[in-house]
Assembly symmetry: D2
Homo-oligomer: 424 residues x 4
């Protein structure tokens, strides 16, 4: 983590309270019953997310820095540690869903208790005193924002795999009328590019190790791949033709009988998709969403194009600075169609995380911090692929052009999509 | 099912309302969060039990017999059918825990809706009209009582596998002071015995096919095996000595590292057990509980005795008519120590289901009813062992000397215990 | 084991040499490659069978009774112990197929070495000296005969799951011309029957505990169910109709997409079956073979009849003493059609093991011998069903009316078939 | 594939015959029984390797190019296709071990038949006619060499997991006396490097797409990591300290109870390792071998160094041209200690495949050939890591500085080792 901010305590406190509040707003439409389950191992119970993010502040801020702090409950460290070996034993990940207690009510009390104590700690602080734990506090806020995005994707999975397909929120007030935006490929010149975070704000350790890469000329698609384009792939027998697929992806397709993106349902011979406001018809101009890397790569092969590497993606943001994106703040919680009136490369930020054909590996010179913070990113640098750009479930203040998200190539429950590239 | 009762409608209606109410009383100490989960496939979410028993009445009584009845929700048949192929497709058993919706609140509304309509149906009925569905209604009530017992065992499992070991109810008011009752073996003479239900009340189809069996003389233990006796087996290395065990049982012991009954926890070098009122020290005079058939059989082998067959058990009730038992109505929800002052064979009814060394197979002349009722018992007559006598979680009005309960030999989450026999 | 014979040493030695020789004859058509594999866990590599049966004699006869005997190889005890915990650790069952060494050649040398030493031991013996280990020697011979039958079923599986469907032996010289034998049901009167072995020859411990059972009148089918009758069940949609099936059986049918007996293959719209002499058309009059208990029971339910219990089966042999059977000595290695000219109940002995609706449990008074012999039968008395009568792969001298074979209800690779019963 | 050779037919024919012969020499010490098994899914039966490589020539050379060629057996295409979807259905990979037929004898006849026909085809050929299939023939030879290496590693696994630990060959005549070579780190200057195959001989398609990469200065270890160094890691508790490990690697370590490299066995308190000539004491100066990527990376972290990327490795060969290596031709079949007398970077070629921290992904501009050849490499470009340099089981003529081998990060049965790098 590299943190070199200079803002004073009050602003930080306000931001802390806003971000913490936001988590509770996300969960407010839920029934207590919704907050317990874990239908697949990737999804964590919402109640667990709410407690785990609080445990992070309690363990890394309050216990070491607030004199006389008494922990809320002696067993919570065991229940709500996610994966930090440095911080002791814990409930196994796949058993999170068996924990009906503490109930939501007590988790909310836990959040309140932690928030009050963080407020008490910060209110009495000079900027000098703040400096000793400010990086960890900042990390805690970024961490909470990451879990806010996971909360949305996990809630969508919980709702979307219930046969009743319950809505999480009403349809946004002004339903969009989408218009087609023709696909174009825009040039990005080859050469030497600097990769990694060079600013003075917050970034994760995996963005550090700024280094140069040598790229060849390539062209980038001006928008994300649409449902209409993906339907062509489907109608052309894309899921049944091994030639487009990586071998492990094709094996998965056959084993799981995949034939469409996650959440797609055929009703009365027409494709629909589950959204957080219920089932709706597939809009041909919307970006296609909830795909695995395997599906993204197979589509690219079928189309005669390819995915970008993460370096090409980052270089493209230098050639085409990202425009304002469709982030969680829009309240849409689904990707939106591109705008035919706009020039340049759209949707680089927001809408959908874009699968790149780059493994999530350390940059040159990457090093892990000692202690629990060092377990945050580095130990996951194998078997996962990098995604870039944030999504409609990402807080706007959370994203950067250098931000590296990562998932295993078979995962589909995140807001993931396809951006194509081609040789010049 | 054999049903030959003559009671009038009002009494039946009162019984219906009492039994239905009882289910809700059992669930009343639960948080909504407790009602969703399924930590192992054997355990069903309490919310599911409550809805499923209502679906039974809706499907088999209200839809066919209440003119103009409108079902509560079109998807509930899919969500809450347990295993009736005759009644259509359904949520797979192991996926019951992913269903956060309908929430508990709506399940309670469903119960109310069904109850009101059953009340409406019954209130307008003559005894003659009642006769056409009375057997199914009676079966529905027996079915609800079976699920009441499962609710208690499932709630115990949900609480007992939570690291916080939450209590379901306060400790009963007058904590018992247990006294040892010496083990004695009482004679049951051999000869021809009539097996199966011969009365005029309700019984399940698996109790029919009354037939004679020829038994040899044997002796039956005057009470259930105690924790103290079982601890001797444990201290003697019982879990580690293959000679006592059936091969599949010993494999299980090694794979799952079993070394004590379910819910036993060693704290400060002393054995405790989880009860529905929290963790308590193991009482040496209480019956040992939550054992698999494998453990029961291994203990019997170690002790130089054996388990009874279900026929011997039923014959014993003819020689020693069961005394009043410790059923769910006692509120104890745990087995109680035998009474040294009592003569004869104690604890045949209540306290613990007793594993017999009899497979759950059809009696001679067994036949399944046509339609869904025929799926109630017969299709499970393989790979399961018979248990007899009811437990501290069984409603007293639900038990009979001919009642055949059945579970796979590895199951431990029911209130199961050991009764020994020996040759004369 | 109960052994009370008085024959002299020479006859025993000749029998020993004949039985040992027979195992090698069974394996003589095999390639060395055939003797290594284990396509499913139930099937053991033929090489393993040959070594294991030798290990039995080496361990239980030569080591304790031949002074100065030196074991053939120090690691063979580890490699070729099957399941005797008393005799030390061993290769796990499912890993038998990874053992390419010792090669067949050395296993045959091992057999020769053991045989020579048993011969040496026996040749110098008085009848009195023989008595001390004669029961174990007899058990070793019975054990070898059991493995001879397993060798045939295992070889059939190895050949029958190879896409090349290689023949093990040429078609028997005079191909049979089968004729239909009408099904008839013959009366067996109810009453008290004595069950268990009462003779003076060899029997297994599981046949002891002679006891009486009380049976009702029933009728037994005069022959085994035929392929033609089973095809009617198949054509009537038998595999797709849950009403005929035990629930665990129907689950298996769906999971494994079962639609015909094991080894049945449809070619050019006609059903064929793999035999040890290659693929041949299904003969409608032959007994249907290679069925699980689930299939046998489902067929019985579909036909409106039922399977016998093992007690009824044994009683039937008292009413209808078994006629000469089609055993391994016929060289057919497949069941043969019934003979329409014959009276009474045919095929009770030989042709096919008949599934009974009786769990493999101990008879009253059953007790295990101390030491390894006690592990022979008793520890398997759970979750298995009894089969009676022997098959076309059983040595004729091995069968008795009281003989209890046992397999899990899903097993199909043995020569198993269906005998029906009905109430009078 | 890029193939631009000009050698005449006779030389090619001689090479064909030599390479084909070599496969049979590798298998000549085996018993027929050794050639059937597949103890883990990664290992293929030696018999299968021998047949599969012949099927490759039959399918891609003889069938299309030898007029009137009759295939050896109609089912071999089904039995011996590995993973080419273009070439039809096939035996599933994990079922290769159930195929006892065709026996080794017939597989050798198949090889002879194919060889004779390839000889006939080539003998009558002009250089011009050869050109139309020369690239595929060359690929077939490279493919056969790859399977020769797999044969050795698979044979080692088959022998090394047999409790008898049989030797495949006698210990080489002059047992080596190893001497320590101190570790040194030699500079490789940063800058732009050209990556990929630029020569005119054979290379695989995954080496094409020559492109530039920008590297920073780094230092490379002068030899492979030794057993002695790895033992220090082990003695320091390396397998038990999560801080050194990637998370998925540490999970594996705990699940599989790993505590040493594959084939290491502790006997009498001393570490031994299984080699193809039996068990021998671990030599501290030999390179440590049979490690997963996880182990290699954990060791690097523990040592405060890191693994190279595949680009750094290839750049290092430009700075330090590889010296003569210990390849399969040495007959050693184990890595040998470095030579303290040598300058520069040793063991880049031969001894052990070196894990790099680079995912096996396509180079820029990578494209797959149409048809079955296109399935050779590209479809595996996910979830695997690149290894470089060949091993003591690799034919010398098979390696190049640009050669990219690839395995999943958990694999240990190949001859894999560790080369460290560090920042300047």
């Amino acid at each position: 983590m590299s943190i070199k901010t200079t803002s004073a305590v009050p602003a930080l406190l306000e931001r802390f309270n806003q971000i913490r509040k936001r988590t509770e707003i996300i969960c407010s439409p839920l029934e207590p019953e919704d907050t317990v389950v874990q239908p697949i191992v990737d999804v964590s119970p919402p109640k667990w997310h709410m407690a785990h993010t609080s445990w992070f502040f309690e363990t890394l801020i309050l216990k070491p820095y607030l004199p006389g702090y008494e922990i809320f409950h002696p067993q919570y460290a065991y229940l709500f540690n996610s994966y930090y070996n440095s911080l002791g034993s814990r409930v196994l990940r796949h058993q999170r869903s068996t924990l009906t207690r503490p109930p939501l009510r007590e988790v909310l009390a836990y959040r309140k208790y932690v928030d009050e104590h963080v407020n008490r700690l910060l209110q009495e602080l000079s900027d000098e005193e703040l400096e000793q734990f400010r990086p960890v506090l900042e990390l805690g806020l970024q961490h909470e924002q990451q879990h806010q995005e996971l909360l949305i994707t996990d809630i969508k999975y919980i709702m979307g795999t219930n046969p009743m397909l319950p809505a999480y929120q009403p349809q946004p007030a002004h339903p969009k009328q989408s218009i087609a935006t023709p696909a174009r490929f825009l040039e990005v010149p080859g050469g030497k590019y600097k990769i990694g975070y060079q600013g003075s704000g917050f970034c994760f350790d995996n963005e550090l190790g700024v280094h140069e890469v040598q790229l060849e000329d390539f062209e980038i698609m001006n928008r994300l791949v649409t449902n209409g384009e993906y339907l062509e792939f489907m109608h052309d027998g894309g899921y049944g033709d091994f030639r487009h697929w990586l071998d492990e992806g094709f094996t998965l397709v056959k084993e799981q009988h995949l034939e469409a993106p996650l959440y797609w349902v055929k009703q009365d011979e027409e494709w629909h998709r589950f959204t957080l406001y219920g089932l709706e018809k597939v809009d041909l101009n919307d970006p296609v969403c909830h795909l695995s890397f395997y599906e993204a790569d197979a589509f690219a092969n079928w189309s005669g194009k390819r995915l970008l590497t993460e370096f090409e993606w980052e270089a493209a943001t230098q050639a085409y600075p990202p425009q304002q994106g469709n982030f969680v703040e829009s309240g849409l919680l689904e990707p939106a169609a591109a705008d035919p009136a706009k020039e340049g490369v759209q949707q680089l930020f927001g809408d959908l995380w874009e699968w790149t054909y780059s493994a999530y590996h350390p940059y040159p010179g990457f090093s892990k911090a000692p202690g629990p913070i060092g377990e945050y990113n580095g130990k996951f640098m194998i078997n996962q692929m990098v995604l870039r750009g944030g999504s409609c479930a990402t807080p706007e203040s959370h994203i950067r052009a250098t931000y590296r998200n990562f998932f295993h190539p078979d995962k589909r429950w995140q807001y993931t999509g396809i951006r194509l590239a081609t040789k010049k």
